[in-house]
């Protein structure tokens, strides 16, 4: 018995997976060759689970800017902005983000996780009400616990359920903040943002949208779901990350709230952590630029997303409701999910194995994330591997195959 014995149930579940001869948590890439290829156990493997939506991790301009900044300003800032001051890059990145979103204010955090912690714990406090979609990301749940607001969950993507809960709070003092995500990270479904914005207007609540998976992915200029749904004016706060479409690490929040900057002296996850290193800031600034001047990246991304989503659906797999860059195949149980994941890896395709409670239902998922940098051949190779393994594991019937091939 050690102090960690309280987590025995998790250990038992993980040991069960390990007993099948695999360690999903210790996948080690010997090398990463490009946004879409890595070397695993000496073998070239297609990377289909990296959230590298625009494939900018190897962009020559981004790398060059990052190297230049590192050479000139060093490898790290070794402190927080409130104690050590900001570098020019931090301020320029905030200006560029504000400009990109057409907002007055922007604030950069050291990770996307900390952005949610820092913003949620600051916007609402004791006596306020935080309305969370039940399928919210862990960083949103954790952020809700860092503040003292009352937390109420509403049914996933259900504006009526949200409305009902806000109606119950009618006349109750305190600010109300609705939190939803642009694209949900497990099934790739989007929030019904038009309807949620309507509820927000009716009830006088504030609205925050986490565009972590939708920045650079949705909307005419890549500003995310709020742009695509045409409701940017209703969104009071947008939170996002640099670690997906922008290929680095870090988080941000943009807003037109006139008191925005007070967060810099009250948001603890912003104040009490080291700021992003110059090399990260520089590549992020360049990636933000590349994303805006190369809309074809988004077109390629969606082409690949549709090909994988429609291909898996045609094969007879149950997938998420929309063709977005996150494409998940629903697995019937943990044994099949683990075996499937391992066999895909052996076939040279790496993606994410997601098991409950991280998944929205009791089913495990094989979660892919598509990149603009994937070639059509890579997507087709992945589809062939899915078909082959699905057949070997008896998940695909011959009938479904014919239906798929005919459609």
């Amino acid at each position: 018995m050690t102090i960690l014995a309280k987590h025995a149930a998790y250990k038992t579940a993980y040991d069960m997976v390990r007993n099948m001869g695999i360690e999903p948590l210790s996948v080690r890439f010997d090398d990463v060759l490009s946004p879409t290829e890595g070397v695993l156990a000496g073998k070239k493997t297609i990377l289909l689970g990296t959230n590298n939506y625009l494939g900018l991790t190897f962009d020559p301009a981004c790398i060059e800017k990052s190297v230049e900044a590192t050479k000139h300003q060093g490898t790290g800032t070794t402190g927080s902005r409130i104690a050590n001051g900001s570098y020019d890059g931090h301020l320029r990145l905030e200006q560029e983000l504000a400009k990109f979103y057409g907002r007055q204010h922007a604030m950069v955090f050291t990770t996307g996780y900390q952005a949610n912690l820092g913003v949620l714990s600051t916007l609402v406090g004791r006596g306020d009400h935080l309305m969370l979609d039940a399928d919210s990301h862990a960083s949103i749940y954790d952020g809700s616990r860092l503040g003292m607001a009352e937390v109420i969950r509403f049914r996933h993507n259900n504006p009526d359920d949200l409305y009902k809960r806000l109606r119950r709070l009618e006349g109750v003092p305190g600010d109300k903040l609705i939190v939803v995500e642009g694209i949900y990270s497990m099934l790739g479904d989007t929030a019904p943002l038009k309807e949620i914005a309507h509820v927000k207007r009716e009830t006088g609540a504030y609205l925050l949208v986490d565009e972590a998976h939708s920045l650079g992915v949705l909307g005419e200029t890549g500003r995310g779901l709020a742009e695509q749904a045409g409701v940017e004016a209703d969104v009071d706060f947008i939170v996002g990350t640099f670690s997906k479409s922008l290929g680095s690490v870090g988080g941000f929040c943009v807003s037109d709230n006139p008191d925005f900057d007070v967060m810099r002296i009250v948001s603890r996850p912003y104040m009490f952590t080291a700021s992003l290193p110059p090399g990260v800031i520089a590549s992020t600034l360049e990636a933000l630029h590349q994303m805006q001047i190369r809309p074809e990246l988004r077109a390629n991304l969606m082409r690949n997303a549709r090909r994988l989503h429609d291909g898996l659906t045609a094969l007879g797999f149950e997938t998420g409701p929309e063709a977005n860059p996150i494409v998940a195949a629903v697995m019937p149980n943990q044994e099949i999910a683990v075996a499937f994941w391992k066999m895909l890896l052996d076939a040279g395709v790496y993606l994410n194995l997601a098991v409950p409670p991280a998944t929205p239902t009791n089913n495990p998922l094989l979660r892919s994330s598509v990149s603009a940098a994937h070639t059509i051949q890579q997507i087709d190779t992945a589809l062939e591997a899915f078909e082959h393994v699905g057949r070997q594991l008896g998940m695909l019937s011959a009938d479904k195959r014919r239906v798929g091939a005919a459609s």
Binding site: A134, V151, D161
Partner: protein, 76 residues
């Protein structure tokens, strides 16, 4: 109220259940976290209340749940 709660359990679990105030919702009824969430949402619909997350984490038995619902209904 216990009868109403029992029938909500039965709807969510899709099988008959016998409960007392001491019934442990997770241990005795074999509910996982998703089941608990669906059950809580059904209770919220039935009584037209919202049970905040910190209150849910304090609920272990059916008796705890009955007290939480009663308090929230009084507060409304």
């Amino acid at each position: 109220m216990r009868d109403d709660i029992a029938s909500i359990f039965e709807q969510v679990l899709n099988r008959p259940v016998e409960i007392t105030d001491d019934t442990d919702i997770v241990e005795d009824l074999g509910m996982d976290s998703l089941g608990v969430m669906n059950f809580v949402m059904a209770i919220e619909d039935f009584y037209d209340i919202s049970i905040p997350l910190d209150r849910i984490t304090q609920v272990q038995t059916v008796g705890d749940l009955i007290r939480a619902v009663e308090e929230l209904r009084k507060g409304a």
